[in-house]
Symmetry: C2
Subunit: 118 residues, 2 copies
Amino acid sequence: MLESMRQFKAGVFQALGHPTRVAIVECLSRCEMSVSGLCDAVGIEQANASQHLAVLRNKYLVETRKEGNQIFYRLRDPLLGEVLEKMREFFFAHMNEAMEVLREEKKVARKRPQAAKR
Amino acid sequence: MLESMRQFKAGVFQALGHPTRVAIVECLSRCEMSVSGLCDAVGIEQANASQHLAVLRNKYLVETRKEGNQIFYRLRDPLLGEVLEKMREFFFAHMNEAMEVLREEKKVARKRPQAAKR
DNA sequence: ATACTATATTCGATTATTAGAATATAACAA
DNA sequence: TTGTTATATTCTAATAATCGAATATAGTAT
């Protein structure tokens, strides 16, 4: 049971563990949006959006509503927005290290130029 | 800047996105612990613990203190415990889907028997 | 019926993460 | 010194996640 709970939590965190999905969840925490709306807002391709949305759907983090031939997404539970909000607090509390982390990651990325496209 | 923040958040979520690391963070949210203490508590090998701790260290989620030849880990900021706490609320609010997610994942795992060792 | 638009899925190549084994380092004890 | 304990790092093989391209599906319009 404890182990199941950890698996569940880890699954949710992992679903949130990608910048594109963070962006999507942040958009949706403001209001519901169609897939094409999300593509525009986040600046990604349709197929890619669909894949990321599938990840969020599989963890039941988002719900959908069909209207005509569009599909509107929304957060399943505002609690998820609150988790993001906590993370924002955390970010500001640790601004300096946060920047350090990002600088480190860029430095590593430079050392592997074949991975630079990401 | 917005993008940096998302990368930072995603990085933190990703660091939390593994059941072993969730277990470690939960232990540490109660009290500081040595590596061997964590190994016992979580039930993992030393080398594996060290790797997971390195992930948490790289995101500045934990701090260390040396005492003799032991190293004690603690959470960098109780805010992190609060993030986990929000996730616990989320878990209980969605118990049913949570169970569904886990059942689904087990089902998928059964279909790929070569991955059964995990 | 065909055509068009919105979204989802599948496939292939690449990259990242993982566990475990072996090795390295550092503190301490005899 | 040698040995022992605690922790970290490196390496390898396996697994998983990612992107982009191509394809599929479903709704709507003509």
